[in-house]
């Protein structure tokens, strides 16, 4: 589904990703862990199409298409979703309004009829239950005055509405208490299907107790230096990242 080959990315002439390779197949959940500044969020932003990041080398193929050639909105319409680490506030724009506009834009891209108000309300109702989203939260301006937990729940709620093929969760667990964490995980698990893939970026093993990954990758200094199964996350929790870096240094010398 997604193939990243030898990806090099710079921001203001500073290289952040230094030859990253990753293959994600349908139905899989990949977790990316790594120390601060290793390039995890950069990877998420590049996949979503943020133009402040310059791809200097490498390619990203998504379902046979050259992803780097697509605008951010076309990527979204092709089925790529990113749950933002810091969702922005948009004053005066009702949450529900943005969502309906977004869904209808995606539907239009796919040649589907737009959903009318009532149809959308009905469709959203079901998803609201899963994510414990109140009517009030839906009517309020996008993310404005939302608590940290509400913002993150809202991100996953948006994902539920848009039903993407491929979703990147950028530290969606940061700042969540255990109840909110469970809701977020439920939201993700509810969408889990053989047709859909996820990349979950996190610092903590805790989230992976609820969203069980098929693969765990460790990103250090712009490269994936170690990959493994779920147990790798536990090992990292236990020992930190130091030992991997030592391993790497040893291997290089």
């Amino acid at each position: 589904m997604l193939e990243i080959k030898n990806l090099h990315v710079s921001v203001e002439d500073q290289e952040i990703l230094k030859g990253l390779n990753l293959t994600v197949n349908k139905g899989e959940i990949h977790s990316i862990m790594g120390p601060n500044g290793s390039g995890k969020s950069t990877l998420a932003q590049v996949l979503a199409g943020r133009d402040t990041y310059e791809v200097t080398e490498g390619e990203i193929i998504f379902e046979g298409k050259d992803l780097l050639e697509l605008s951010p909105e076309d990527r979204a319409c092709e089925g790529i979703f990113m749950a933002f680490q810091y969702p922005v506030e948009i004053p005066g724009v009702a949450n529900t309004y943005l969502l309906r506009e977004a869904l209808n834009s995606v539907r239009k891209y796919r040649g589907q009829e737009p959903l009318k108000h009532i149809e959308f309300a009905k469709y959203a109702k079901e998803k609201m239950k899963v994510m414990d989203i109140s009517d009030n939260l839906l009517k309020r301006a996008v993310n404005q005055g939302f608590s940290g937990g509400e913002k993150k729940r809202n991100e996953i709620f948006q994902m539920q509405i848009l039903e993407p093929k491929f979703a990147i969760l950028d530290e969606t667990d940061s700042g969540l208490d255990i109840d909110a964490l469970k809701i977020v995980a439920n939201g993700v698990n509810a969408l889990r299907s053989p047709e859909r893939a996820f990349v979950v970026i996190t610092h903590y093993q805790r989230l992976l107790d609820y969203i069980v990954p098929d693969f765990v990758h460790v990103l250090v200094d712009g490269k994936i230096v170690k990959s493994g199964g779920k147990e790798l996350a536990l090992e990292l929790e236990d020992k930190g990242y130091g030992w991997i870096e030592e391993e790497k240094t040893a291997a290089n010398s």
């Binding site: 133009d51 951010p72 977004a102 834009s105």
Partner: protein, 478 residues
């Protein structure tokens, strides 16, 4: 996200067509004879002609204001024609008598004058260049005692009201443009709501400039008697022309005891091209007097057109407990310049005013908010809340704010909030990531920014305003 200035040039002004009608146009230039001609055309009484001539005399001694934060070449007032009217205009008894070309022009603007086809509950007065061509729903309104007609008709049919109130709010020598308007005003709307009547429908006037090298000088007068209510909306468009055209209107509102007037404007005069060529000079004096206790005047304006805008819809709060409001969205794109705001003059006790101004600048647009809140020495317990927000799109535009506050009574409560923000690339990217194009994202964000103002508009017009804003922003993001 980089702003592509090239794209700015590509946006289209969709109301820029010219209608081919036989016109009667006064020779260019302004002198007493032209004023006498206009007055004679309209069969005006002697007092009105004298009033005009007096204003003209005053105007000759006055200087064009130079304090607004706008820049343009001097206007040659002798190169403008001060009267243009479709030829052979009989007094219209029904729509069938209306020149089909003119009717087609309004259809094209999306303003069907056909009563059956109209938005339910909206009566329209259509002003084409210098004259009112038709007023719809006159009969329905008359049943409740409401008078809604062109000001020319009002001069003939309700001379006592016109004589009493014309110039009651904006004196003939108030300012340069108001004096000019007083000398040469041609048409506009007249509204009278009798005591205790809630006007059964929205009233609206659509102003259309069509003829070349003419100015439009309309005069609107709205009187709300004790305990009455009216909501009025004006819309404006003009053809695309390379020359600048002058529009200098005067609007006067009078609210008596317990009366409410809501006045909304959707101004979309031709803004000029991307190089700043052509476009309307919109120099307008709008003012209301809350003369009675508990009276209420509310101005809502959505200003997206005109090359230059100079306009300060104001309220003089004379009655105790009277309320003044000003809600404004002003957008300047391309080379547009706007200097707009309000004056809230508190005279009565416990008077309150609210100012919400949203300025949006894109392209090379320059947007200025200028406002005065004055609390007189007898206005104990007066309150004002002002919120003044500016949004910048791109890095070639500008936003400026000049708030003036004068307080002569120590019991006054004043609040002033102001913000300037650049439309966030983070916000645009967030919307794009959800599937919206950059342009739709900007439109969504700007509409959100303006929401506090749009919610003051009558529903149908709020929808129209949102669309208009989106169209006016087209091409502002690359």
């Amino acid at each position: 996200m980089s702003v592509d200035i090239e794209k700015l040039a590509q946006q289209e002004y969709k109301y820029g067509f010219v209608t081919d009608v036989d016109q009667e146009i006064a020779p260019v230039g302004l002198n007493e004879d032209v004023i006498r001609m206009i007055s004679a055309k309209k069969d005006e009484p002697q007092w009105l002609l004298e009033w005009r001539l007096k204003a003209y005399e005053n105007w000759l001694t006055m200087k064009e204001p130079t304090w607004p934060n706008v820049h343009y070449s001097p206007i040659d007032y002798q190169s403008i024609s001060y009267y243009a009217a479709p030829k052979n205009m009989p007094k219209l008894e029904s729509l069938d008598d209306l020149d089909p070309e003119i009717k087609a022009a309004y259809d094209k603007l999306g303003i069907p004058l056909d009563e059956q086809k109209m938005l339910a509950g909206v009566a329209v007065d259509a002003v084409f260049d210098s004259v009112s061509v038709i007023t719809t729903f006159k009969k329905t309104l008359a049943e409740s005692g409401v008078i809604f007609c062109s000001i020319s008709d009002a001069v003939r049919e309700h001379p006592e009201l016109v004589k009493k109130y014309l110039g009651f709010v904006v004196p003939a020598n108030d300012n340069f443009y108001a004096a000019l308007n007083t000398a040469v005003f041609t048409d506009g709307s007249f509204v009278y709501i009798p005591k205790g009547v809630r006007c059964p429908m929205e009233l609206s006037t659509y102003f259309r400039i069509n003829a070349e090298n003419t100015g439009q000088f309309e005069r609107t007068l709205i009187i709300a008697e004790e305990g009455s209510y009216v909501s009025y909306l004006e819309g404006c468009t003009a053809p695309k022309r390379d020359e600048n055209q002058l529009h200098a209107a005067v609007v006067e509102l009078i609210a008596h005891k317990d009366a409410t007037i809501k006045y909304s404007t959707i101004q979309n005069w031709y803004p000029g091209d991307s190089e700043g060529k052509g476009g309307i000079y919109n120099f307008v004096t709008k003012r209301g007097r809350c003369v009675g206790n508990n009276s209420h005047i509310s101005w809502t304006q959505v200003e997206t057109g005109s090359a230059i805008t100079w306009k300060y819809p104001s309220c003089i709060l004379e009655g105790d407990n009277s309320v003044g409001e000003f809600y404004s969205v002003a957008l300047t794109n391309r080379r547009q310049q706007a200097d707009t705001g309000t004056k809230m003059i508190h005279k009565g006790k416990n008077t309150s005013s609210t100012i919400i101004s949203k300025g949006i600048s894109a392209g090379f647009g320059q947007n200025t908010y200028r406002g005065l809140v004055a609390i007189g020495k007898d206005a104990s317990g007066a309150r004002n809340y002002t919120q003044c927000d500016s949004m910048l799109i791109g890095d070639k535009c500008g936003a400026h704010t000049f708030p003036y506050i004068e307080v002569k009574n120590s019991t006054a409560q004043m609040e002033h909030e102001a913000s300037t923000s650049k439309i966030g690339e983070d916000q645009i990217f967030y919307c794009q990531q959800r599937g919206l194009s950059a342009e739709d994202a900007v439109s969504l964000i700007v509409n959100g920014f303006c929401k506090d103002v749009f919610k003051e508009l009558p529903f149908e017009f709020a929808v129209e305003a949102e669309k208009l804003l989106s169209i006016s922003l087209e091409g502002s993001v690359g």
